[in-house]
Symmetry: C2
Subunit: 422 residues, 2 copies
Amino acid sequence: MEAEIYSKLLLTFGLVLLAAAIGGKIARFFKQPAVIGELLAGMIISPFALGGFINDPVILNFAVINGHFVEGGIAIPEFAPMQIIAEIAVIALLFIAGLETDVRAFIRNGVTGGLVAVGGVVLPLLFGYVAAMYFFPDIGTVGWLFVGAVLTATSIGITVRILMDMGRFNSRESIIILVAAVVDDIIGLVILSVVVSVAGSGEVNGLGIAVTALIGFAVWLALLAIGIFGHEFISKYILAPFKRSKTMPILALILTVLISYMVTLVDLHPVVGAYAAGLLFASTKEKEEIIEGARPVMLFLAPFFFAYLGMQVDLGSVWQVIVPVLVLLALAVIGKIIGCYIPARLVGRLSHNGGMIVGVGMVPRGEVGLIVASAGLLAGAISRDIFGIAVVVSILTVFFVPTMLKPLFARDAVLPAKPAKK
Amino acid sequence: MEAEIYSKLLLTFGLVLLAAAIGGKIARFFKQPAVIGELLAGMIISPFALGGFINDPVILNFAVINGHFVEGGIAIPEFAPMQIIAEIAVIALLFIAGLETDVRAFIRNGVTGGLVAVGGVVLPLLFGYVAAMYFFPDIGTVGWLFVGAVLTATSIGITVRILMDMGRFNSRESIIILVAAVVDDIIGLVILSVVVSVAGSGEVNGLGIAVTALIGFAVWLALLAIGIFGHEFISKYILAPFKRSKTMPILALILTVLISYMVTLVDLHPVVGAYAAGLLFASTKEKEEIIEGARPVMLFLAPFFFAYLGMQVDLGSVWQVIVPVLVLLALAVIGKIIGCYIPARLVGRLSHNGGMIVGVGMVPRGEVGLIVASAGLLAGAISRDIFGIAVVVSILTVFFVPTMLKPLFARDAVLPAKPAKK
């Protein structure tokens, strides 16, 4: 019966949320960011672990493996309701992140952030390409490029959450990381366009790629400009009519969902749109009221996203490919840190410690790595095995961040020149 | 590309929310409950109206007609992500309703509420059966029974929302309506079991039906009892550990989702579980804190549910069957009002005005009517045409309620014996 499927989806939604809540709680007990506990909880209940024992096609079994993708790279036209909920969840998270960002500081650090993004792309792409040549000689240039591209991505969602959890969200390092993560997404989009077009036609369309990049930047800058120059208009004509009925924060959330969709039309990731929407409302005088009303929605949904991400990891099969996983993981971490550290110090004039914070903050690949890997699988450029490796590496990068960031921030707090914590 | 489908689902989610927000806003401007505007907005953007012009299988086109059910009553195994979001939305609404209910008053009015429910079932069932015999002589006893059963349902979600919108949520009449709506769901479940088993085997299994009813009541009473006798335990061992991290309201919401699933195992509607979960937490001393944290989630999602409901109505095809629609609609309204009014006055000793409030409050069928009609379609007992009529009648009943309740409550407020409004 149809109704039974919906009940099972409801159960799955509830179980993932519950696992995330418990995982987050345990992580906090051990003085770790909640996001780590949520990811681990997801790994434990994943269809590759506990979920597999339930032996039901719906309950805790909606991950990528179950018919969503099939061997050979042909997608089955089946929607995963949990995927769309996860997407709404990460949109709510990035929206709050945008709202809580200091917009002036964001713009002031634009150049440094942009160069950090470029540095953080070049090295991992090179490292990934070479390592893939060594481990998977059969897959050819396009496959190697995909593996490299997976390593270039930066997950803004995870870094944001960790910085929030640590209460260091508006430090200068954090702002640079946020700018860089946004620019990184646009660069990632360009790289993805290149590899997909190479995989398809074997040729690179230089003009087309330049146009893609330009449109991505233009849309993003336009959203930022609307917020800065149009915030009085937004307050007066869009938000004010919804103020009395207390649905104003909800309206802002709704517009964020629509903006997140709109940026996908120029192939940006929806979370980049969500972050831009947050920045847009951050300039309005209703900012605090919006945060207050929208934060509970984010607190409810965001843990779902991280647990859902953890559910994609097949821990059992990792052991069979442990050597490439570890090597790629090391290259992903080292490449990103060095690539970001250099521009952060040279251009941003950060201290050694500050440069390290930026480098480490850029390490997590998370969902963005998954997206690139999925595109590679769909294009037939990488096999199911390599896809699995890419997924595991993407998610394992996340675990490094809080462990490494903590001592760096602690040392940072001792220095006298820094502005006081809120 | 897969990613495109998710983007389109995101757009749909955003558009439905936006339409609901604007519809609610317009309704409030005309001093009507927001829910009416949300339903109308849903009708306007439905795939049968504006949504149809978009000509895309995903954007605004996820309603029942699009492959979700096919001719002949065989369900296509395709999940509608919007359906599961709508379900989570109405769960959040009923959870808040439970939390805001005066538990003692709820229990004190148990007998009256129960008898109101019975009265509100008997007359509409009889009226629906007879009218179906007249209009659709071909479909036979089982079909007539299904049409009658559609008319017996009561949608607790809609009544709750209208009472909330009117600020009359904890009046005695409202409490009786809530009790009756819960009992009604259990009676509805019994009737549904009867008609489905008759449709399947042609026989009625009396013992099986009695067991179904008993289990339904037992689960419900057990949840109520856990709240009343176990609230200190719940506060101390379940809620307290999540208090410091401010995730306690979220945890309560998560447990509500799980309880909503659990009641579906005994074939109750998930919203009945959500309401019971709300009552369960209403006895704890953390009640206010939970309401504060969970209400924004409800405010964000609930309008989605009502707009989604409106999207099921095919206004265009209503004109072709306007006579049976109007007759069934009149019988649904009159049958419910008389059937509920009599026990409310005789047993509950309410005034004429109070009895009318209870009767009118029980009128909306909404989603519950849709569920019964869908079951009839799936069982092959009613045709697609009659299904369409049942859907339209179910949803049109909703529009009567605020229009009729308003003058009744206004007259009520003048009487001196009533307790003062909050």
